[in-house]
Symmetry: D3
Subunit: 265 residues, 6 copies
């Protein structure tokens, strides 16, 4: 028997690049305006801090273990293990998203699988569940969002790998194969691929006065005046902006990691 699983359709590189300048918080806020109430896979936290990734989702579905479905625990033929098949589709920039049913006793991937994933150019791992071999997985430096880690392997106890690149529910959010994931220290969200161009456009209407506001608030300025700017603050801002330009150094002054956009807090 030979198992064949579908690949995903990856979005244009430009889409990924366009989203790379937007953090998950800005994206979630803009998606809300586009009608998406909850893109956040809540409960999954970053395990390699400061990793920030954007890429298309390979998906892997785990199901409650059923002993008559032998494909998944037939050690004699590793080719029958479906979590390996998810990995075979890896291309540079891919993110693998796994519905492991929130299980804290099943390590859905271990060191070897993730070494291979990284070797193939994979950049992020989002699991409603755990990995194992954390002492050896952590140094790989992949972006990882999950519930925890465990020494158990994946189908040791109550779940088993079941399907590759099918729609999944991951931490309460529907993820379609090929949807785009944005993940950073705030968590991991899904961007429905059709909404990505509009999201990029909206997020680029960036809030130029935001740095001014931040400076003012940080020194005790009134929230009502500076966020958003009222008429008086607009005038101050215009003056400040002129002053900034006058004294600008020729080097780029980029001191913050991301282009910032207006968010409804």
């Amino acid at each position: 028997m030979s198992i064949v699983t579908p690949d995903i359709v990856r979005p244009d590189r430009a889409i990924i690049e366009g989203l790379r300048t937007i953090g998950s918080a800005t994206a979630a806020g803009e998606l809300y305006k586009l009608g998406i109430k909850n893109p956040h896979m809540a409960g999954l936290t970053t395990w390699n801090k400061e990793q920030s990734v954007v890429g298309p989702a390979l998906t892997l579905q785990w199901m409650p273990k059923r002993e008559d479905m032998t494909a998944n625990h037939e050690y004699a033929d590793t080719e029958l293990q479906l979590h390996r098949h998810a990995m075979y589709h890896t291309q540079p920039g891919d993110i693998i998203v796994v519905d492991a049913r929130g299980d804290l006793s099943a390590g859905v991937f271990g060191e070897m699988m993730l070494t291979y994933f990284k070797g193939r150019g994979g950049i992020g791992v989002v699991i409603d569940g755990c990995v194992r071999d954390w002492p050896h997985v952590e140094p790989l430096g992949l972006g990882m969002w999950m519930r925890g880690v465990t020494p158990n392997h994946g189908w040791q106890h109550t779940i088993m790998p079941f399907a590759v690149n099918v729609p999944i529910a991951c931490a309460g959010v529907l993820v379609m194969p090929g949807d785009i994931i944005i993940a950073d220290n705030d968590g991991a969200i899904v961007v429905p691929v059709k909404l990505a161009p509009e999201l990029i456009k909206k997020a680029q209407e960036k809030n130029e006065w935001e740095e001014f506001t931040r400076l003012k608030l940080a020194t005790g300025g009134d929230l009502r005046k500076y966020y958003p700017l009222n008429a008086e603050a607009e005038a101050e801002y215009t003056a400040w902006l002129a002053e900034q330009k006058a004294s600008a150094s020729p080097q780029p002054a980029a001191t913050r990691p991301r282009k910032r956009t207006k968010k409804a807090e």
Copy 2:
């Protein structure tokens, strides 16, 4: 329409200062002796390690979202957003305590709100829920105790800000506006403001033999002998104390961050 929310009555500065030398563990133990079974907002963990704060509680209550209560999602007028009003009351040394119903999909404050809070002198944030913008909030260096972080904004999904400086239940503990919060790496507790003077008094009956006990236990001394001191250990302690004084340097030897008091472990 103009929203007016009540301010809190802040305790005497001396009360806050008196509590500042007591950690949350000592305070919880003493409160127990004063009749309070559970002052700990369990499940909330520190997100900026080594922060340790004491101050009065501004409170903010979130409720399940109800679409007919428009005040909270009327973006046209940010003045109708009640989480902003909680912020307006900030004075130096204040701690904001939020019942966000344990929600992991709602970021009750973001970078701008917390920049303002810090700019006004706020020192601590205790949330039965999450903030958003963590990549930019973390560097503010506020003391923060909460369940997690999320990229979603606060009323994106299932809850909404509802009332300011009313009694709230935060992580299973009743917090009255103006109660005192003590929070450190052990977690955040509430000190009913009326009990604070008695608590300070009790906690100052400090356990002078505790450093001696620690030294003995650390080198294999018998728990039954040294904690608490039995008669034999008392004699050893007296001798040790004399020796300490004889060899004492003129400078204060304060090597531990806090005055320590006896605790029932």
Copy 3:
């Protein structure tokens, strides 16, 4: 009244040494082959990263508080507190495992108890619950796996220490007094003491080609070819091995912390 609690039977030192070279992930995988489905105390996480311990389990059982069982809250006589009695049995290399019923509001040990535990040679603490005094406990450098920390003491609210060195359920796993605990960054597992010799034997059939596989996967090699090795890869491996030996430096090249064994991921 004098309380006498049983001690545990400790396994041969050789058993402990034999297990020390095996991580929790390898051990869990081998235990699965020996019939144990779930040795992992899921939900408990390491609080002192990079600690890795192996040792016999002292056990301590907490029960729901019942006010007529006075032994545990009779402050006048600390000798009636059963969590102290668990500590009295500490010998060098011991690990204490505590069923604290998953409680997040009870600190089952504090600084003094754990200072004593360390002073007596204890190396690890596994709690389905919390400790208190974390600001002072963390520096002790013990291996610690637990659900959280709290400023409350242990029987302040809803549970009380109840029995020493009896069978307990810790985080969903049965632990018999004297069973062996292996704990590291992946979590804490129980090794039934009778299975330890067989486990050591199996884990020593080490997978000599694993380093070769890792190198290949890390640089994009095909998972199907290199994990496990197919015929073609076996040939490559033989050649690589010969090359390695030819160029070997006289110094040991041990760059990884643990002897690695084959795992079914």
Copy 4:
């Protein structure tokens, strides 16, 4: 000290009467069209089957117990017990809605309180929690929706009555004092009082063909044809209707308890 708690504003009797012909399922469906996503206090089930009530909400809030707030456990003066004060406001047709924090160990009312409530004309009790004395409360025949029953009294363990006729969250739904509750075998929902007139209007656009559809579906008719009616089915319906009228008996044929309205299933 004398405790004074606010009464509620009760809606016009006509509003209540208008809603009485609408079941909770129809009302929830119509509220959805009016923008309310979730009016259902999920998890609360009927304990006196076949009771069906509509009326204004008295509200009672319980909070986590705090031993320094003595009003609630001062037995000497029952007038300080706030759950009694909620009862004092009872008028004929009232429903009391209680946020008891989902507690399964606190009986928020017992036989005497509920006998009084019934004696005053109260008709329904909705509790995110329990009552006690069920053997004697059940025979009172009140409509009751709750999580369970318990022999404990209300503030025996971890919660205490705290406030009367304030906004509460009951089983995940915001209930304002004076909002209207509709409760039957499907569960209990809240109708924001301002939306009630519109809800009544919409629900009265009743679906006259529904009985015809039911007959057809019950005998194997095609869902696609009869629900909703397609053109062919419309013609059948017109014929059926004519036939019905021709053979109609002079007595009203009302065989179903409620006027039925169109629902989006």
Copy 5:
């Protein structure tokens, strides 16, 4: 757009008939011997007591609501609602099994859908979630196993119908389209269709002495002697059996509803 969903392959009628004489408890015990650890959809309870059904599973999968997937909330075209499509496949004797994600605020079917289901010969409904319209659904007399009831319709709040006759996880158990469901007052279990013939065979090795054992135990007989029968009890049984036959009336003495088989309790 036209939606086409796959039908299921139904097992031979003889298989269903063979299973009809076996209760869920006997079947679960025999499945355990065939290797299936947990066939029980735990947490779902019978809502129409005394119903007992056996039949093939139509499956329906609900997913977390995502507002960009419009098919499910496009009221203009009910043909895009996938829960209707599941119903279209109904044949006499079918059971519909629904993964509604344990949601207590979504009524996945209402009166009209279930009237149609019954009209088409459907016999059972198993839902990890709720139905609505219970006052009108209960009288239909279908076998129903579920978590609860709600007045809300299905996609009012957080989930939406997503796929028909795909593998689903229902209450922690994998159900393949066409698997056989056995459900009675003990709950609902899944019988993997391939295991059904063996299960029938095993369950028919009926335990003829069981009635004798029951009589003995009911009157104080020793469990060690009569369950299972020891040598002495075997002799008593033989004598009893002879006596029974001697006095047997010509009418069948079938006093119990089901052929009973040996179970390991």
Copy 6:
């Protein structure tokens, strides 16, 4: 190997008789006054309504399944199954209390075990978990308080019977072997055997005016006046009492099932 498990010490028959006239609600209220905060095994509900039992507790502890502990799944020798041993101790009037860890997939007893239990005079079953064979267990008519029912047998999935007549935690309450259980439609509570005499005494100080109060409240009397009686109401009561006696029939007028005692609601 022969397994010997301890029996319990049963209280004097007079104690049981004395408690039989007190419902669980009155007993819980009185225990609270004696210092016991929470005697109620919350979450367990009656499955045979109107059963009301009082008796000593046999206890049975289940533990997480561990495959190396063979005693519990050795079918060849049923004598190694510990749940049978709990049953062997049954005497008339006994109640068996089981910590089955809240498991909804394990039926800790089935028809045969419970037939034997009833045959031996057992009267009640309290389980933090489930039984199986409910279609045949229900007709036995035992008092049963539990979380649910399941067709699975007890150690089919994740737990196993472990110890007999040891202290257990059942639904959050400590139960010692031989403690007394009172269970009725309100639920099941534990009475520490030492507190039973005092409890009986207190509960007998019966509230003679309670029937008068009930009559008054049921007809709209003021709660403040009649519960408890104020001076004016006392006078009314005295008059009413005199009138009652004057018109009393010679037969006892006991119309309520239980002697009633004053309860703090």
